[in-house]
Structure formats: structure tokens, C-alpha cells
Symmetry: C2
Subunit: 478 residues, 2 copies
């Protein structure tokens, strides 16, 4: 599907590559190292001999093909389970599988060798002339929460592939290999676990165990069955083979829309992330006696729905009481059971997200939310049947030398920029555990994200890709 629709949207070099691609496909099929991916993607791929020859000095001109990149962003957004302009792409759904195929095809057309791990993290590698050295990696995610937009994550995957194309077109030859990573399930939508792929790459044994044994989605489909449906975890009974050593990468970069209003408001092209806020998520269940909405008198009620409403407002209060602009808290999920107009809710379920750049301050908020949940349950005579902190991650600091490299590059390209923190968290938060990390932000319309109105201008995306490409080139020569 993606293959024919790719061609018309491709620039000349792309067309040449797809030609080469089809010519060498027969030989490619005999190449054991990529056969698995072949089988899965259904598209011909190849190890490509650089037709440009290439040099190991930094590129002097960087030409981003903004039109192709925009068309790819638009095409990818059509792999969605909800109507445009909204995008809904849930982990291991049919649309997710098609979108992954589309990305792997682009990687192949760019001459990257593609590898997938057991959970579907996808790696597209451009070998450097010293392939033995730790590589320089960049990437993001393409999964999308229900009714969201087409730029979150996607800019950091398609933009990364284009960054490597830019370097290839410029004739640059990397010393360290350059790698584009598509991370599995940065969004927690399906299994309630955010940054699932990067958490595993960073070596979370607890998560590996949970995924194999206990993790199910809302329809009670196990993670393993869902992964197999999408063509992963075939045979693998051990997820520890997904873990990466900390020596694996010398640097990791992620390009991403800001998802906040600052860069746009200040008219800046580039945000250089110095730290990523510490996220935590909590699941809460209340239970009461329910009953008939007409017959049960108010004094005799213990309404689990009103307990949930009170807790939602308590979350907001405790977050605001922290006194810091950097503390945020959200109740994104609030469900009532049985959910009938004439029935008093007998059960309620909340999912709470809270973040801060200050881990201690965030943990104090979580403690206050817990105290409120207990107090509300007591006051309303409902039982607090669950208060589970699903994850409570520390913040991550960017690597100073990578920050400097991104700053220098922005200056060289005359792009107005600033140092900032990321309040949203990203796969970079977990990659920082096994590699020096840096993040690049570009402006987005009104800071909107996670909704259909999410938008980033082609020019801003192109600027981000330029900074990414040149920074990758520098780091690959380190």
C-alpha cells in the first residue's frame, strides 16, 4: 500500500533509489541479514553502495527536501483508526503495522539496513567507515493516542530519515555509524505503559517480566498475543535480548515538536532541551454500593462517581499548591460503572498523570493525592480499592557536550534558539540511561498537541532537520 503511494511524493534522489532498490531486490532477497525484515515488511530493501562517493569532512550545504517530508507526514497520518484531521494509531493495530511498514520502506529507500527487535523497536543503520565504534542514534515514535495529531513523534522519525538523506546528498561519510530508531509504544494508550520500547532498550527487567507474564490491554488481550498479531515475539520467549548495553551508542538525539507554546511565542526556531521532566502515573479505583438513582435517598448513598470527581479536583488543587509553574497534573481518564443515567455509580476508575522537573516536589504532590484519596473514601464511605503508582520516573539531564554541539550548530545555521526543559517526556528520558542524550524542539501551533489541531510549519520542521543532520554529522566524527 505505502509503496506505490510513496513514489509520486518522492523527490528525484528517492526515485533513483527506488529504481536501484528494485534492481537489487533479487540479490537483497538472498541477504540473510535482512531477510526477517523482508518477510515482515513485504518491501524490497538493500545495502546500498553510496553512489555519491562521499567525504568524511562536515557537509558545507544542507538541502532538506521539505516537500517530500511534508508529503510523508501527510501520508503516514492516513494510517489512522479515526477520520482526518484526527490521528489514532494504537500499538500493534493493523494501522500501526501498515505505518511501520511504510517507515521500514523509507529506511530501505534511503539505503539503511533495517533491524527489528522482539517488541518492534525498528533500527535503520548507515554504517560508518569505522563501524566498530559506538554509533550515533536518533529517533522517536509514530504511535498516536486516540484523536490526536500527525506531528507528535512522527517529526522525529521521518525527520531523522530525511536528516540522513541530507547528509548522503551532501556527500558526507560518517565515521561512527548513524542509526535511526523507531521506538515501540511511546504512548501508554494500549497497555498503560509509556515509552515501552525505550524502557526495554534501557534494560528494565521488571517491565520485561511484566510484558511476558501479566500485561493485558483493556480487552484483556495479552501483550504477547498483541505483539504476535503484529508479527513480533515470534518464538522469542526472552525479552532481555531487547536490552542494549550502555556502550552501544556514543550519543542519542531526538527531534520533536515542543508540544508547548514557548518557541512560537518567542519567535524562536530551535529549542535545545537541557532536562526532561519527571513523569509519574497513578491508577485509582473507588467502590461504593451503587443503587437506584430515584429510590436511594441522599444520606444513604456512597457514590463512587462523586468520590472520583472530588479526587480529580484535588489533583488540580495539590498541583497548583506546589506553587511551581513546572508542576502539572491531569486526570485524563475517569470512568463510571455501570454508567447508566438512573444508576448511582458503584465503581469509578481514574488515571492520573503528574510531572515536574523537580522529582521531590512531584513525589510530594503524589503523596498529597494519595492522602486526598484516602480522606475522600473515608468521608464518602466508599472503599479505595486501588491506588497504584504505575510509574514514577526520575527526570533526565541532557549531555553537556551534546547540548553544546546543538547550540553551536544552531548558531552556525543562524537559527534563533534557546535552552529549555521538556515538560512532556519522551523516549529520550529512557535512552539517557544507556547513552549520552540530547533533544531538539521545534515550534508548533499554539503549543497544541495530542489533538487534531496539532501543527508544525514545514519551514520549522526543515530547520529542525538541518540542525539534527549537522549535529549528527559532528557527533559521528567524534
Amino acid at each position: 500500500m505505502a509503496y506505490p503511494r510513496l513514489a509520486p511524493s518522492s523527490s528525484l534522489p528517492f526515485l533513483l533509489l527506488s529504481l536501484i532498490c528494485s534492481l537489487v531486490s533479487a540479490q537483497a532477497y538472498e541477504d540473510a541479514t535482512i531477510k526477517t525484515m523482508e518477510d515482515f515488511s513485504g518491501y524490497p530493501l538493500h545495502e546500498r553502495n553510496d553512489p555519491f562517493g562521499g567525504s568524511s569532512s562536515l557537509p558545507t550545504s544542507l538541502s532538506v527536501d521539505g516537500d517530500s517530508l511534508q508529503r510523508q507526514i501527510d501520508e503516514l497520518s492516513t494510517f489512522s483508526d479515526t477520520p482526518a484531521p484526527s490521528v489514532t494509531r494504537i500499538l500493534y493495530s493493523d494501522k500501526d503495522v501498515l505505518a511501520r511498514r511504510y517507515i521500514k520502506n523509507l529506511m530501505g529507500l534511503s539505503g539503511l539496513s533495517v533491524r527489528e527487535d522482539a517488541v518492534g523497536n525498528i533500527f535503520g543503520r548507515w554504517d560508518g567507515y569505522e563501524p566498530g565504534l559506538p554509533a550515533v542514534a536518533t529517533g522517536s515514535h509514530i504511535d498516536a493516542i486516540p484523536y490526536s495529531g500527525k506531528y507528535d513523534g512522527v517529526v522525529g522519525v521521518l525527520g531523522a530519515i530525511e536528516a540522513l538523506n541530507v547528509l548522503k546528498r551532501s556527500g558526507f561519510r560518517p565515521k561512527r555509524s548513524l542509526e535511526v530508531i523507531l521506538f515501540t509504544s511511546e504512548e501508554p494508550t494500549r497497555f498503560g505503559i509509556s515509552c515501552l520500547g525505550s524502557r526495554l532498550l534501557a534494560g528494565s527487567k521488571v517491565l520485561a517480566e511484566a510484558l511476558k507474564k501479566t500485561t493485558v490491554d483493556g480487552q484483556n488481550i495479552s501483550f504477547v498475543d498483541a505483539a504476535r498479531y503484529a508479527g513480533y515475539m515470534k518464538g522469542e520467549d526472552d525479552l532481555s535480548n531487547v536490552f542494549l548495553n550502555s556502550g552501544n551508542y556514543s550519543a542519542f538525539l531526538e527531534l520533536h515538536i515542543e508540544q508547548g507554546p514557548i518557541l512560537e511565542a518567542e519567535g524562536l526556531s530551535i529549542g535545545i532541551v537541557t532536562a526532561i521532566a519527571a513523569p509519574a502515573s497513578i491508577k485509582v479505583d473507588f467502590e461504593g454500593n451503587g443503587g437506584h438513582a430515584g429510590a436511594a435517598l441522599m444520606p444513604n448513598r456512597n457514590d463512587a462517581g462523586l468520590a472520583a470527581a472530588e479526587l480529580a479536583l484535588a489533583v488540580e488543587k495539590h498541583v497548583l499548591d506546589s506553587g511551581s509553574i513546572d508542576t502539572v497534573g491531569t486526570v485524563g481518564i475517569l470512568e463510571l460503572h455501570p454508567g447508566a443515567i438512573n444508576s448511582i455509580p458503584s465503581k469509578s476508575h481514574l488515571e492520573i498523570d503528574t510531572r515536574d522537573i523537580d522529582e521531590k516536589r512531584r513525589n510530594e504532590v503524589i503523596e498529597k493525592i494519595h492522602q486526598s484519596a484516602v480522606a475522600i473514601a473515608k468521608k464518602r464511605s466508599v472503599s479505595l480499592t486501588e491506588f497504584r503508582i504505575v510509574n514514577q520516573d526520575p527526570p533526565a539531564l541532557s549531555d553537556k557536550s551534546i547540548v553544546k554541539a546543538m547550540e553551536d550548530t544552531s548558531k552556525e545555521l543562524n537559527l534563533p534558539h534557546k535552552l529549555m526543559i521538556s515538560r512532556a517526556y519522551h523516549d529520550s528520558l529512557f535512552m539517557a540511561r544507556i547513552s549520552p542524550m540530547g533533544m531538539l524542539f521545534i515550534p508548533c501551533f499554539k503549543g497544541y498537541s495530542h489533538k487534531p489541531e496539532e501543527y508544525a510549519a514545514s519551514q520549522d520542521i526543515a530547520n529542525g532537520v538541518k540542525v539534527l543532520a549537522l549535529t549528527l554529522a559532528k557527533l559521528s566524527l567524534d
Copy 2:
């Protein structure tokens, strides 16, 4: 399905009747008056000549077959879309169709002639020896909200059929015809309209128009398509043929579990309803900008979910402020969009139920709820995109002579009883518009209803059936 499972659970008279029933089925198939029902139910039915002969004086002994009645209640509860002990039976679902078939079969076995109208109100008639007189009717509903119990409504349908069996076994012969009514969709679950069947019988032109033209369920299935799926509205393009004249019945009675704790607490067998509280329901939608749970700072948010939480608590406050124990209000439905943990709710939807025996006081509460919705929207900069009063019905008063008949009967049977009001509303609320009305309550465990723990003791049900039977006999001789 219901038929074979009925036999083993049936008492001796039932087995005899089923025998007669199968013997006469051939002739029954030629009876035009019941052919439609035949076709639909798939079970043989018949007009039966009373084998007991019978007398027109009041019965001296009333023997309720409590065991069969309990087994029928248990059997009916198995037609459910959720696991026992919960019951979920939604209008026009496959399980609803099977349950209706089961009831029509019982009516047939009791020798009642069965008629269905265009929306599936079902009438089982025992002709009196003066069939020209307005009949005496009794009945209730069998639809069940999600995850509810097996007695709400059901006791008033199966109990009514058993009441007629009691009279038949006693040899009684009614002067006015006696009719058992199964009302379509007393619960608002599927189309948001409570007492859909009885509202139509009472002649609501507005509802008839809405059902034909605009009414859809949560999956956007039209009422007409749903009705046709269940075998109704075949050909009928005019729902006004469902309307009944006010002269149609000389009296209507409904037997129902109290759905409140009073009778059990006071150790009484029978509650005689003097008035039914005035119900109203409201739908509310808030809309905000949504956004990313991490990136959007608290001061920049307009969270539609928190607006909903505030309104839910405001409903409770305004209800309590009324100062009357008879005022109740419930938020049974509260939904957030998009419903992801890391996404600020951009939309919220509430459905509010409020009732009172004092219509004016209830309407004042509704007005306060509206004022709060407006104020909350203003304060949180969200838009109040809908505030719709779906229904706002007046209370209903029971007919004094029917109340007296129920009181006298309770005394004659030495059953401790009291006069009380019904805070839950029922099809009787609407039948009162076209007929003198009365309601009988029996105790239920802790007043529980609309949940799996709902329970009424066989002895209490039998007492209710006795009072119903004898009262019907008296009214039929009026």
C-alpha cells in the same frame, strides 16, 4: 431456547397447560388474531376454554406457586449480556428478544391471548364475561440496565401472570377482562428515553415523532432500525396506532420491588403507593482545548473533565440544599474525550437524573444546576456546548379508590402494610395519564436495586402476588 428450559421448572398446572397448548397448536396456527405473535415468538399459543368452569364471586383461597415463580425469575435472568449474578438486558438486543419470547410463551401457557404493538408493548388478555367493559390491567417491564439485578420490573410481569394463574386456579371468573402488560424500555439505557412504551401508550405525539425521525442510540443505530431488528415496526409508519384511549382501562396496577429500604427496615410486607416522584433528566456537554498532559502548563488549560467533575459535585450540593429528604440527584454518566491518561480532556459529557415528589422544588434544583453549569464554564473558559433537559415529568397521584382496594385487601390477607410514595418512577407514572392507577411495593434486601445484589424473598413476592390477584379480582367486578 426458552421453551424446553421452561418445562422442567414448571409446576403441574403449567405442564398440563403446555400439554393442552401443544395439542391445540395446530388449530392455534389457523387463528388469525394471534398469527403475528405466533410468527414472531416461534411458540404455539392458544385461546383457552377455562377448564375450571369458574365463578364470578371473589376467590376464597389464593394459592401462589412461589417455587415456579422463583424459577421463572431465575430463568429470565439468564437472558443477559453480562455474567450472573448481574443482569444486562438492553432494548431490542438478542437477549431482550429471547426474554420477550419467554414471557409471551408463559402468557400463552396461562391461556392469555397475546397482542403486541408496533414498539413491542406486549398485552396478555383474559377475557371477562363482560368483555365490552373497560379492562383492568397490570404489568411492568423486563429490560435491565447494565450490570443490574433480576427483580426490578420482572416481579411485576411474572408476578402479574402468576396472579392471573392464582385466580384461574381458584375458579374465579372476571367480569371486566384482565390484562397483563409488558412495557417496552422502561429503562432509558439504549435511547435515553425512560418508560418509552408507556409514554407512547399514554399518547405522547412528540415522542412518536422523535422515534420515527431523530432517535438514535450510542452506536448511531436509529430507533426504527433497532425495532425492526427485534421484529417490530414491520411496515408500520405510524406510531400513533400505539396510543391508547383513556377509556381503555378502568384501572391499572403495578407490582414492584420497593427499590428502597423502608419496608424491610419496618418489617412490613406491602407498600401501597400514593404518589410517584417527578423525574427529570439532563444531558450536559463541556468543551475545552485539550492538549498534552505534560506540556500544557496549568494556567493555560481549560480542562473539560474538571468542569464535569465540578458540575457533578454541584448537583449533589443543590440537591442537599433543597433541604428535603425527597429530593435526589445523580450523575450516573460522566465521559471524557479523548480518554487518554496523558491527554487533557477536550470534551466531557454528563447525564444527570433528578427527582422529587414536589415538582416545583425539583425544577428549582434543575435551574440551580443550569446556573452552576454556566458559571463553571465561564470560570474554566470551557464552552457549555449542551445543556438539554431530556424529560421533566410531573409527579403522579394514585387513584383513591384503588388505594383503598389495596389497603382493604392487605387487611383481609393480614399483611402488615403502609401508605408510601415511590421515589423511583415507573410505567405507572405514565399509565396514570390514561387510567386510574395504583402501585404495590414489596420489600427488597437493603433497598438495593440496579445492581447484582438486588434481591426479594420468595415469600414477599408471593404476598405481593396475592394482594395483586385479589385486588384485580375486586376491580374486575366493579
